[in-house]
Symmetry: C3
Subunit: 348 residues, 3 copies
């Protein structure tokens, strides 16, 4: 980052500064790792020890915090230290150099494309025929865009990502490195005589709304016919699989390595932990949360938190989990009880 003074940072977030306004900040870090010259934030009593030990030169602290900084340190008092820290991250990011607009001579552009003059296309990127690329789109080196792809304004496609035929991407999306949009779905006709498969052409596409993020090496398959839809504001982490003809509702967030089989309809504002799996052709209601590693084999019609494989309403899942821990002892008790009852019967 370009250096800033403590005074500039405080005024950027409208915070009250305690300490020198001309200390130079040249980095940001977590409070426990920050070194001299770096900015951090503190918002939770749990981490008071980190604050006490911190070498950060400037720390954003809660308004209500009653201490003053050590010598050579600044505090900036804030109503929302974390959000203000994020605001500063955003400011710093906005000052970073970007790919400059224009098409690098080492890029290859197909026929009949419409590419905004404000878009930037890096070296080694390959764009197919009939593509439409909006304002301020940035396509990083060696990304590949097949034919008939549309990319909305301000969207970023990182290196080695691939957008296959007919993919449509909205505005303000980020496709991280190695992500694959629109590869063919896993669909075959089985030949009953020898168990062999013949491929079903997948002629549909993938459609992303606005503000969607697709993590590194995540794969989203094209529909057999029609579209695989990813709603506005959906955030997908790395190494996720989305099967053909899925629909993912708006503002749903999914953690890494989760897999969603074909034709699943996920509701709005769902939150899935990592390594979750959903079987094909089911749906989830709006506002469903799935804890990590859950396995869903039936539709979930009610909002709530679910866990386990097969996934159950969370209190039920935890009750079973607790019972399982008691199970080995319970089996011994059962064994003893059988003996006692046998004795009673003999006596009777």
């Amino acid at each position: 980052m370009k250096s800033m003074t403590t005074g500039e940072i405080a005024s950027l977030i409208n915070g009250n500064l305690s300490g020198l306004p001309d200390m130079v900040i040249s980095g940001v870090n977590r409070i426990e790792s920050a070194r001299q010259g770096e900015l951090a934030f503190y918002s939770d009593d749990k981490f008071l020890q980190y604050l006490n030990d911190s070498n950060a030169s400037c720390i954003i602290v809660p308004k209500s915090f009653e201490r003053t900084p050590a010598e050579n340190q600044c505090y900036i008092y804030s109503a929302n230290p974390y959000e203000d820290f994020v605001a500063i991250l955003k400011f710093i990011e906005s000052t970073k150099p970007q790919l400059s607009p224009g098409i690098h001579p080492g890029a290859v552009i197909g026929g009949n494309c419409s590419i905004s003059e404000l878009a930037s296309i890096g070296p080694g990127a390959v764009i197919g025929d009939n593509c439409i690329i909006g304002d301020n789109v940035r396509i990083y080196p060696n990304a590949v865009i097949y034919n008939n792809v549309r990319i909305g304004a301000n969207t970023v496609i990182h290196s080695n990502a691939v957008c296959c035929f007919d993919t449509e991407i909205g505005q303000n999306c980020i496709i991280y490195p190695g992500a694959v949009l629109g590869s063919e779905g896993f669909g075959y006709l089985e030949n009953k005589t020898d168990g062999s498969y013949s491929r079903i052409p997948q002629l549909g596409n993938v459609v992303l709304g606005d503000d969607v993020e697709v993590g590194a090496n995540t794969t989203i398959d094209r529909a057999i016919a029609g579209s695989t839809f990813i709603g506005n504001g959906v955030k997908l982490d790395n190494l996720i699989q989305i099967g053909h003809n899925c629909e993912i509702g708006e503002h749903t967030a999914i953690a890494a390595q989760t897999g969603i089989s074909g034709s699943v309809k996920v509701g709005n504002r769902n939150r899935f932990g990592g390594q979750v799996g959903l079987a094909g052709h089911l749906f989830t209601a709006d506002d469903v949360t799935l804890i990590a590693q859950s396995g869903v084999s039936k539709s979930i019609a009610k909002p709530g938190v679910y866990f386990g494989a097969p996934a159950k309403e969370i209190r039920k899942a935890f009750r079973i989990e607790a019972a399982m821990r008691q199970l080995p002892d319970a089996l011994s008790e059962l064994h003893n009880l059988k003996k006692q009852v046998r004795k009673l019967e003999e006596k009777g």
Copy 2:
């Protein structure tokens, strides 16, 4: 797709048309999403409501279906609506423009290669030394082929896929974007004094039979010595891991995110659901099915359906799963029973 008339479609699949033969069809879709001008199919009573509400202009229906189409709609009567729908998908796909034969000037070709004049190699693709590339092979932009790789006729390598040294690929295969064939297996010698590892060179290769498909971002490791074999007709979904020295039997199909450890021998016609895991050095019989998320730690010598972690014969697995759901109540009953027995003992 290029437009077709309802009459052309009916004659393509030898079906009886009810309705106008000159309606123009310019797309295919699922029956519930189809719009005017699109073709769909209907084959299952379960989806009758979709049929009733469908805006599709033309629907392939079962021969035995006793209704006639609404105005502005066509039916085509067929013995196998789904298979005929797939036949039309295949026809449409065959009419799509392909990479034209020849080597794009933006591709880089190594020394001593034998490349068919009928092969097409896209811009940014890099081919190493001593490679043999057959007729009609299509290598998409930015795919990388290392040295000494053979690729059989009609095989397609999609963008950003990587085939490492010595990989051998049969005919009619499809390698989807980002797949990695022949990366080094995970093999180390552990130094017992400090727990550090030293790498064991992996000098074997990966050999794919004919008609194999490898999904997007799937990885298949080269053998330490000898070959990792993928049999004819094997279909691998996205994000799968196949360890070094595995052998996958013919016509086996594996769903996304499944992982197979090193030196596993999978039988013919196995079907694995998503997120399944197999431990190293085991085998499965022919015709084994593993339900999604199963974990296999021992060889499976009998054909059948298995489920769970560790995987069990499916009826046993379901019996245990059902019992687990009763477990919390059973523990209360056990507790009560203990009290009752104590009372009886005191009385006795």
Copy 3:
């Protein structure tokens, strides 16, 4: 491999040769797959049948092995057959042709870079601005290095791997094809009114120590601030996810498809099986082993072997697993016992 004689092989590992010293060896293989002209090793009585049936021309056997080879076969007696086999693999690998030093004219190099004259950069590789690339570094075709990346001596970056902004890589590392270092972590602020997310810029980086290997299509996210650290000697298999701000201790080895959530601190010499998951913000002690498919939701403070989801000390986990198998029968017994007790009560 270039051919060697049996005599050359024996002298390379200081082993005693029984058989002809001038037999030509042109390949290495596993004992059960080896053909004439190939070298294999035998170290475990379990595989005696493989030895008996082997077509290998030369087999490294234990010093104590009391047999002599068949005609047309050689034995080399060794104190450590497996380690000597690996030594030969290393020798063979060292004789393989490498990328020659220098920058291929088809590579694109940014401004202000410092690149060793001994480094090799393949065609289609793209290097950003301000990068520092050490001696003997090999960057394979179409790999992408963003701005401000440092790569230590002897490190190899395979094709289509991506190193994002500010990544630091030590010496003697191997980054396999398609791996992504330094993509943005999965961090958002949730807007409580509509459930939408706004992205938190991830301004930290990824730092790899020396002798680190990162498997094909594995992803390691950059820190929100500060660094995601991968310690010296860490070995990561394929398709692994490491979240932002994680720290992985030295000589830890992790099998394929394991996922580690953000801000996890893994100890030294941990060994994780495949498909393991760790929840965020926890730690593991040194010398922790996690069996495949385990799910860790709490910190593990004691060295040892753990298994299950949630992960438990292994003996406890196996006791529960064994109990579960008895559970369906136990429930019937419980049911019978209830009847017996009721009868006793009625009688009483």
